[in-house]
């Protein structure tokens, strides 16, 4: 047996981030006094990783590490969005963490390791790296949730997240083993081949599929695997909630594409039925439960559940009666929705951070009362975010909904579109309520908003981007379509 040196080139970004994580670990050990070092190095790493990803980009799909690893445009595009959203999230969260005295270098190290985990997930072509990436991301996240170790609520949230997350990982692993048993392959292309040749035992395969879908649903945070979402969002420090609510959704989306579309496309009829139930349940429950919330983080958690329901809606519209030419349209609209959600979610939790300060957590919707009097500019930005999430034009959220609904209608699922639309109206209510407290109510807390300049600037840019991308969504839409085209 001769040893072949694998081609490292397609994995340059992953290797770079892994090395930098080690560098930061060492640097923070030897330069404990320099508090900004961990943060600065992490941000630099994310920016540099973006450059590495762009410069090593290849037009065609290439495999390496004995086909464990795949480098394609979808993966690269998602990685770029992941770097971007992590960088923004860390920037938003920095002041918040400093106020609570938890901006330790380890925090940024964990964030970087989590990023690495997500990168491995989106580039996995095999069950093993998929699982490793997933665990790497999750373990880092569990720790980050518990990072404010003196806070009972954070610890409770971390515990909940960990136990349920471990359960979900177990389910996923069980599903993977069944699929392996049925197809004799762990590699997605091999699985697809086995399913296509009908060489697999259908019963075992379908059982495995159910568990895989459950694992994906947990990571996306959709019904019925959503129970952790509100509790963790509420309990975690807001800066961490911001991280949980953004980039991991993209990684979970990539996981769904790799496992379901790459691996089990021939079972689309089966998993689409499952996703249909999941999507409807998420959109209905997410929107209804959000109405009852007083805590804005909880409200955004339920709203996130319904948004992920929309992403799933896009995923299930790919194949109609064995006809596959809807696939690109459907999956790219789902991806566009996921990216749009990440942008909106960043801004929404960014606003919550903006209103928090040392010794005060802006957590309740009432903390937004009279924001228009305190700061008309940020009230405007928050209004953009809320209307965008409600799917009102001219904001990006509208075009996200439009493209998903378009895919659903094209697939002929009118009733699904009608359900989604009616629940959107119900959903609009709680977004409108936030606008209402900001604009129609008098402020209870009249203290000036004190926040670092970089947070103000970037949050403004984020809000404006939501409007600008709503006026000109073409670029992002076609990027999503183009990235997927090469990968399907």
């Amino acid at each position: 047996m001769n040893f072949v040196v694998p081609d490292f080139y397609p994995a340059a970004a992953e290797i770079f981030v892994a090395v930098m994580a080690l560098v930061i670990m060492l640097a923070s050990t030897f330069a404990r006094g320099v508090r900004w070092l961990g943060y600065a190095l992490t941000q630099l790493t994310l920016i540099a990783a973006a450059f590495v990803t762009i410069f090593t980009m290849q037009g065609e799909v290439s495999y390496t590490f004995s086909n464990l690893f795949v480098s394609d445009l979808m993966g690269q595009f998602l990685k770029l969005v992941i770097y971007f959203s992590m960088a923004v999230a860390l920037l938003y969260g920095r002041g918040y963490l400093a106020d609570r005295n938890i901006d330790k270098p380890e925090y940024y190290l964990l964030a970087l390791l989590m990023t690495l985990g997500m990168m491995v997930m989106v580039t996995a072509n095999h069950m093993l790296p998929m699982y490793i990436g997933l665990e790497m991301m999750s373990l880092a996240l569990y720790t980050m949730v518990a990072f404010d170790r003196d806070s009972g609520r954070s610890t409770e949230a971390a515990m909940k997240y960990f136990v349920l997350g471990a359960l979900a990982s177990g389910l996923l692993l069980y599903g993977m083993s069944m699929v392996y048993g049925a197809t004799g392959s762990l590699e997605f292309t091999g699985i697809a081949q086995a399913v296509y040749n009908q060489a697999a035992n259908q019963t075992v395969l379908l059982f495995g599929l159910v568990f895989l879908v459950a694992g994906i649903a947990f990571k996306l945070g959709v019904v019925p695997f959503h129970m952790w979402v509100p509790d963790v969002y509420q309990g975690a420090p807001t800066a961490v909630t911001l991280v949980i609510a953004t980039a991991p959704k993209l990684a979970a989306f990539a996981m769904a594409i790799r496992l379901l579309v790459w691996g089990l496309f021939d079972l689309a009829a089966q998993w689409q039925t499952m996703l249909m139930l999941i999507a409807v349940a998420s959109i209905v429950l997410g929107n209804l439960a959000a109405i009852a919330q007083q805590n804005i983080k909880r409200m955004l958690a339920y709203s996130g559940i319904s948004h992920m329901g929309f992403v799933v809606l896009g995923l299930l519209a790919g194949v109609v009666d064995g006809d596959r030419h809807f696939a690109l349209n459907a999956y790219s609209s789902a991806m566009f929705y996921a990216v749009a959600y990440v942008i909106m979610s960043l801004a929404s939790f960014g606003m919550v951070i903006l209103l928090s300060r040392a010794g005060f957590e802006a957590e309740n919707i009432d903390d937004f009362k009279g924001l228009n009097k305190r700061s008309p500019w940020f009230a405007l930005m928050m209004m953009f975010v809320m209307f965008s999430m409600a799917g009102i034009p001219f904001f990006i959220g509208f075009f996200a909904k439009l493209s998903v609904l378009q895919a659903v209608v094209a697939a002929g699922y009118f009733w699904l579109a009608v359900v989604a639309v009616i629940m959107s109206v119900i959903g609009a209510f709680y977004y409108l309520r936030v606008v209402k407290v900001m604009y129609f109510d008098a402020p209870e807390d009249t203290s000036e908003i004190r926040a670092p300049a970089e947070l103000r600037v970037l949050l403004s840019a984020n809000g404006l981007a939501i409007a600008a991308l709503g006026v000109a969504p073409q670029m992002l839409m076609s990027l999503c379509a183009y990235a997927l085209l090469a990968s399907l």
């Binding site: 228009n372 008309p376 209608v409 639309v421 109206v425 604009y439």
Partner: protein
């Protein structure tokens, strides 16, 4: 001449101007905000004038067309154009915006810049609705225009403003989202086109036609509003500040009616024919039943709100009789109602600013203290009840004539409105204006000032001019209505 994109100007001058007004910031700069807003409103009106003067009345084609690719991924275009049906609404809209800015001049003392900006942006968005020829573009403007009105009602409204604002928003959102599904279906059926003009030519089987018609009926019916989905309107009107009520009555309600002419009738003509009896029945219920409801109102704004619903019932009635007189009469009625209801709300606003009550019972004998005002109010009340020589008469008369051709009993029922309209409007007028001076508030009233005189006088001129010589209005729409009727007569099955 045609190189200048007047439609884009009509849309974007008020919107960008509104952003500029918003940038004046806090209330310290309120005088600047007011003047700037007025200038933008006037500029917004000026750019719409060439749309009328340069309009070719002999053609039914879309004019001033602008076509640019917007989102090629879904073949969505920035496609604008006006025909004889829509062009007048742009002018009306821009004109009403000036009135609204003037009316809010002194009354609004808080967050002036935001108030003015909201109306200017709304005006631009509504121009967009009237000139969009692309389904998604239409929808985008249609939805976006909800935001400023929601804020206007919620921020500057009365006691129960939050309830009214949210109710208004959710009602209209539900309707329009169902329409979105219909638009997506049409997109799919037409092989990937969002062009409204393509959809006009698209053959469709009966069953989808009926479903599409129902989706449009809900979307536009809520907006018009038709009975029984009208309940948001009285709430919104009562709680909105004067300017909000004026825009709501004069322009926003017309969006729904316009939608019927642009979407429902030409895109699904067979379903429109088949379901016309339903719409006519709903319209007649609105005309008669809501007329009676208006009669018993004790709140002036509510009364005018119900009268609006009743008048809009007349409009939808006119559309679905499918004859020239009916449709033209309905369009004339829409424009006239824009002037008259706007003026009525402005008059109530004038009283409200002084006494801070909308209750009819709190007034009486206003004529003794405000004679000039009483004269204007008289004219508008007469126009609202459809007196000949005012604009209110022309539209109603044409629709009734159209109805006689269609079916005598429909005409008979519709004509009841002439009696009811006179009854509720004039009875309200009598109780408010005539009689003895009711209380000390009324005794201390001051007559209208020059600013109020100006906007009431301009509106009075419009009402009279349109009543005495409606030809310039009907002339513009003639060719387009002709074409619409020819188009509708051909089955698409």
């Amino acid at each position: 001449m045609t190189d200048i994109p007047f439609l884009s100007l009509a849309i974007w001058v008020p919107i960008l101007g509104g952003v500029l007004v918003l940038a004046t910031g806090s209330d310290r700069n309120a005088p600047l905000a007011r003047i700037l807003a007025f200038a933008v409103a006037v500029a917004g009106f000026v750019v719409t004038i060439p749309l009328y003067t340069g309009f070719d009345t002999s053609s039914s084609a879309m004019q001033f067309v602008e076509l640019q690719s917007w989102i090629p991924r879904f073949n969505i275009n920035y496609h604008l154009g006006v025909d004889g049906i829509s062009v007048l609404f742009l002018l009306l809209n821009a004109f009403i915006t000036i009135m609204v800015v003037m009316a809010g001049w002194q009354v609004i003392q808080e967050r002036v810049a935001q108030y003015m900006a909201a109306f200017l942006i709304m005006s631009g968005l509504m121009n967009g609705i009237f000139s969009a020829l692309d389904g998604v573009l239409f929808y985008v403007f249609f939805e976006a225009s909800l935001i400023p009105l929601y804020l206007v009602i919620g921020i500057w409204g009365g006691q129960n403003r939050v309830y009214a604002a949210i109710k208004f928003f959710l009602y209209t959102l539900l309707g329009s989202l169902l329409m979105l599904i219909a638009l997506l279906y049409l997109f799919m059926q037409s092989g990937g086109s969002f062009s409204i003009l393509d959809w006009h030519q698209l053959p469709l089987p009966m069953e989808p036609q009926v479903l599409i018609f129902l989706a449009f009926l809900i979307a536009f019916g809520v907006k018009v509003p038709m009975w029984p989905v009208h309940t948001w309107l009285p709430d919104a009107h009562v709680e909105a500040p004067t300017g909000g009520s004026v825009v709501l009555a004069a322009i926003a309600l017309k969006l729904g009616a316009y939608g019927f002419l642009r979407f429902s009738i030409p895109i699904v003509p067979d379903a429109a024919h088949q379901l016309a009896p339903v719409v006519i029945t709903l319209s007649l219920i609105a005309v008669i039943y809501i007329g009676f409801v208006a009669l018993v109102q004790t709140d002036m704004k509510k009364l005018v709100a119900y009268s609006s619903i009743s008048h809009m019932g007349f409009v939808t009635l006119g559309f679905f009789m499918f004859n020239q007189l009916g449709i033209e009469g309905a369009i004339v009625q829409m424009i006239s109602h824009g002037f008259v209801s706007g003026a009525m709300f402005l008059c109530i606003g004038v009283l409200y600013d002084r006494v801070h009550s909308r209750q009819i019972a709190d007034y009486g004998g206003v004529v003794h203290t405000m004679p000039k005002f009483a004269a204007f109010f008289m004219l508008f009340a007469m126009a609202n009840s459809g007196l000949p020589a005012t604009s209110g008469f022309v539209g109603e008369f044409m629709v009734v004539l159209g109805a006689v051709k269609f079916n005598f009993w429909v005409a008979f029922a519709a004509a009841v409105t002439l009696i009811l309209g006179a009854a509720y409007t004039l009875w309200m007028y009598k109780r408010v204006v005539f009689g003895k001076v009711a209380n000390s508030h009324v005794a201390e009233l001051e007559d209208i000032n020059a600013r109020e005189f100006a906007f009431l006088a301009i509106l009075a001129l419009c009402v009279l001019a349109m009543g005495l010589y409606p030809f310039p209005f009907t002339e513009v729409m003639h060719a387009s209505v002709d074409e619409l009727l020819r188009h509708v007569a051909v089955s698409k099955l």
